[in-house]
């Protein structure tokens, strides 16, 4: 089986879907001739023509608004926002329009669009190239939110997202594009080719939205993670020797509550980790869910490890990033409670 980077897997998912379905169109800033600043759409314009893959003016509201109009017509637009940090001009189109179109028109119209965007830090991108705005989407009724953590999942989930009849926000942790990253920034980058989840089947396959994956079975505590934090959690488990069960949520909405509950009922302890700021972050939703459904099984308070409630800094990037040491300390705290 070929191994792929996350970028190649995402490109491949586009390719598969554009070949299968003429209604799939791809556009965004720099995605046409150049193939995107991260090269996730490289070669698609050359292969499918300018009618199906093209550069957009720098106007995120226009990109999402136009995608909604095309979707209403019957197309399946998959658009790129160059960085998640630049989605704010599109927020009105996402929240007031894409998310509610089906409901407000009593199923007369719908917006089956996929909106991809690179998220997260770890690349010295500072406050406008590092944000993780997932909670701004999960808080909106009518949007599905997906965060893949490896090439195999990225391809299968992106294909599923494009096939979904509702709007899907597809968040790509950019620090994972070229290799798994566990927060040890002082170590050389490990390429995807060394990781089993870089083995990506050729052609079509899809992974259902709303199904988490147990990335590391364990008995001592449950870690709820997604994106880059999956690898940080693996490192923390290895370094503390604590037998953590690591769940990669993969989809935040719909959330795979059954997998979470089964794990926490087994381990009786829960640590939640994300890179986004803490207050009203998705971790708060996870914590509330676990508390509501597993309260009588818990032996320790639920702990959240997150980015601080500050803008993502440049020089202080590693003081901000919730790395394996901070997560490992949380593991110990939860075990000692």
């Amino acid at each position: 089986m070929p191994t792929m980077t996350m970028i190649e897997a995402i490109r491949d998912a586009h390719d598969v879907m554009m070949a299968r379905d003429d209604n799939v169109v791809v556009f965004g800033e720099d995605v046409g001739y150049f193939g995107g600043v991260f090269r996730c759409t490289r070669g698609l314009q050359q292969k499918y023509g300018r009618n199906r893959c093209f550069d957009a003016p720098i106007n995120e509201s226009g990109i999402v608004g136009a995608a909604i109009g095309m979707a209403a017509y019957g197309l399946r637009p998959c658009v790129e926002i160059q960085f998640a940090d630049y989605m704010y001009p599109a927020y009105d189109q996402l929240v007031s329009e894409a998310a509610r179109l089906r409901h407000r028109s009593a199923n007369d119209f719908a917006a089956p669009i996929t909106v991809r965007m690179p998220t997260g830090g770890g690349i010295f991108g500072a406050q406008t190239h590092s944000q993780s705005p997932e909670a701004l989407f999960t808080h909106v009724s009518g949007l599905k939110t997906v965060v893949p953590s490896n090439p195999y999942d990225a391809k299968g989930l992106l294909i599923a997202a494009i096939e979904t009849d509702d709007p899907v926000i597809f968040l790509e942790p950019k620090r994972l594009y070229n290799g798994p990253f566990d927060g040890h920034h002082e170590r050389p980058v490990v390429p995807w080719s060394k990781h089993p989840l870089s083995e990506v089947p050729e052609g079509y396959y899809s992974l259902p939205l709303g199904v988490a994956s147990v990335r590391r079975p364990g008995t001592a505590l449950t870690v709820l993670a997604y994106g880059t934090m999956v690898y940080v959690a693996e490192a923390a488990a290895a370094e503390t020797g604590i037998d953590a069960e690591i769940i990669d949520l993969r989809t935040l909405l719909p959330l795979d509550v059954d997998t979470i509950v089964a794990s926490v009922e087994k381990t009786r302890r829960c640590v939640i980790v994300h890179e986004a700021t803490r207050t009203s972050g998705f971790g708060a939703e996870l914590s509330a869910t676990v508390q509501e459904l597993c309260f009588y099984h818990l032996e320790a308070p639920i702990v959240r490890v997150t980015g601080w409630d500050t803008p993502y800094p440049h020089a202080q990037e590693w003081a901000y990033f919730p790395g394996p040491q901070r997560l490992g300390e949380a593991f110990r705290r939860v075990m000692e409670a």
Binding site: E29, D30, G32, Y33, F34, V37, R50, N51, F54, D55, A56, P57, I58, N59, S61, G62, D85, Y86, Y88, P89, F124, G125, A126, Q127, T128, H129, R278, T279, W308, D309, T310, P311, P313, H314, A315, Q316, A319, Y320
Partner: protein, 410 residues
């Protein structure tokens, strides 16, 4: 219609891509000195033609000609040349510093130096620029210390922005330079609002907004124009058309409009187009627009026609999307070279003096760099503190941030 034609989508493409030979001989560049100079109180509808032409002062022989010439003293022209040279030398050193791993990122303004450097000279103290990341020339021309700029690039212990911002995202209220945002276009309506505030308070200060060709596509660009138009705000709205927005050529943002300047017409805003590589022309047009604003005659839209000679940033390689020779083939030349030839023609400069000035500027930049590096670089030496991450989120630090700062160990 019984048999309507089948519709088709138009997707604009640039004329030249890698592998093709750029040829701009078909581009209509008016001869220097041929575009008229209307009075500053001209009504917008009387000067619509100026949005479709190019105001130029320096001709091919380096002479300053026409109604827009003669605005600058000999000393001011010499100083302008040196400022542009300083910006270029600064860019070269910081680009190299990034390549050496001393910082994460850098953006040059190669080929566009005349625009910011000349514009700044037409402003008064107290005026405010709302720049993009490619207007380092405004800061240099205003006399902001190179060392401070470099400390920002290095995110070091003397970084005025405390290590928080991406390199090149400077800020200096004292130097009339509004804090740069990474989010394109947001500064444009803010410039209009600042100008409106000056009018509300009955002051005499004006604002200047800056935006790139690609970013004029943002809704904020249009928001700015409608506010400026409605309230006749004392603002100069500058568009730097350097032909490219990363890999996207200007035609994607311009669409069916003949020029970017022409965007102003629908708003009733006087709109001018100027040769951005022509220092005296940029200065004369800036002065004209600034005078309009200062005399309460309202906003002006100015398009500077130029070319982004270097990569978009240190993360970019333009050979993937445009011919390598395109920059050389670009018909408006290099702003430093053109002003130099002009000054030599006027016997105000010479090749020897130029060589000497290159060395002087280089020495000044190197000395500043040495000092800046003594305060640390991104990965070595003294650093911006992690403690600073929690400061200035709010004026007073709320309890939850105090707790988090403690948890973070600061």
């Amino acid at each position: 219609m019984s048999n309507p034609p089948r519709l088709s989508l138009r997707v604009p493409e640039p004329e030249f891509r890698p592998g093709t030979k750029p040829d701009f001989s078909g581009v209509n560049i008016p001869r220097a000195g041929t575009v008229r100079r209307p009075p500053v109180d001209a009504a917008p509808e009387e000067i619509r033609d100026l949005a479709y032409s190019i105001i130029r002062v320096l001709n091919r022989d380096g002479e300053a000609v026409g109604p827009w010439a003669g605005e600058l003293s000999d000393e001011a022209l010499q100083a302008g040349l040196k400022t542009m040279m300083k910006v270029r030398a600064y860019d070269a050193r910081m680009q190299m510093a990034q390549r050496q791993g001393k910082t994460s990122f850098y953006m040059q303004c190669t080929g566009e130096e005349a625009i910011a450097c000349a514009f700044q000279m037409a402003l008064e103290p107290g005026d405010m620029n709302f720049p993009t990341y490619r207007q380092q020339g405004l800061l240099v021309a205003s006399g902001y210390p190179l060392v401070d700029m470099m400390c920002q690039i290095y995110s070091n212990s003397r970084d005025p922005l405390k290590g928080r911002q991406l390199p090149v995202m400077y800020s200096s209220k004292a130097h009339g330079f509004f804090s740069i945002s990474g989010n394109l276009g947001t500064q444009y309506p803010q410039a209009v609002g600042w100008a409106m505030a000056s009018a509300i308070k009955g002051d005499t200060r004006i604002a200047a907004g800056w935006i790139g060709d690609g970013s004029t596509a943002e809704s904020d660009f249009h928001s700015a124009l409608v506010f400026a138009s409605t309230y006749k705000a004392p603002v100069v709205l500058n568009i730097v058309n350097n032909q490219w927005a990363i890999s996207t050529f200007q035609g994607i943002a311009r669409g069916g409009s003949g020029t970017f300047a022409a965007r102003g017409h629908g708003f009733g805003i006087p709109s001018l187009r100027v040769d951005g590589n022509d220092y005296p022309a940029v200065y004369a047009v800036a002065k004209w627009a600034i005078e309009r604003a200062r005399r309460n005659l309202g906003p002006t839209l100015v398009e500077y026609v130029t070319y982004r000679a270097a990569a978009h940033s240190t993360s970019d390689d333009p050979s993937a999307y445009r011919p390598k020779e395109e920059s050389e083939a670009w018909p408006l030349g290099d702003p430093i070279e053109r002003l130099k030839i002009h000054l030599i023609g006027k016997k105000l400069w010479s090749e020897e003096r130029h060589t000497q000035a290159v060395a002087e500027v280089e020495a000044e930049v190197i000395a500043a760099q040495k000092e800046a590096e003594s305060y640390g670089t991104l990965h070595t030496g003294p650093k911006a503190s992690g403690r600073d991450m929690f400061v200035d989120v709010f004026k007073e630090m709320p309890q939850h941030l105090r707790r988090q700062r403690q948890e973070a160990g600061y």
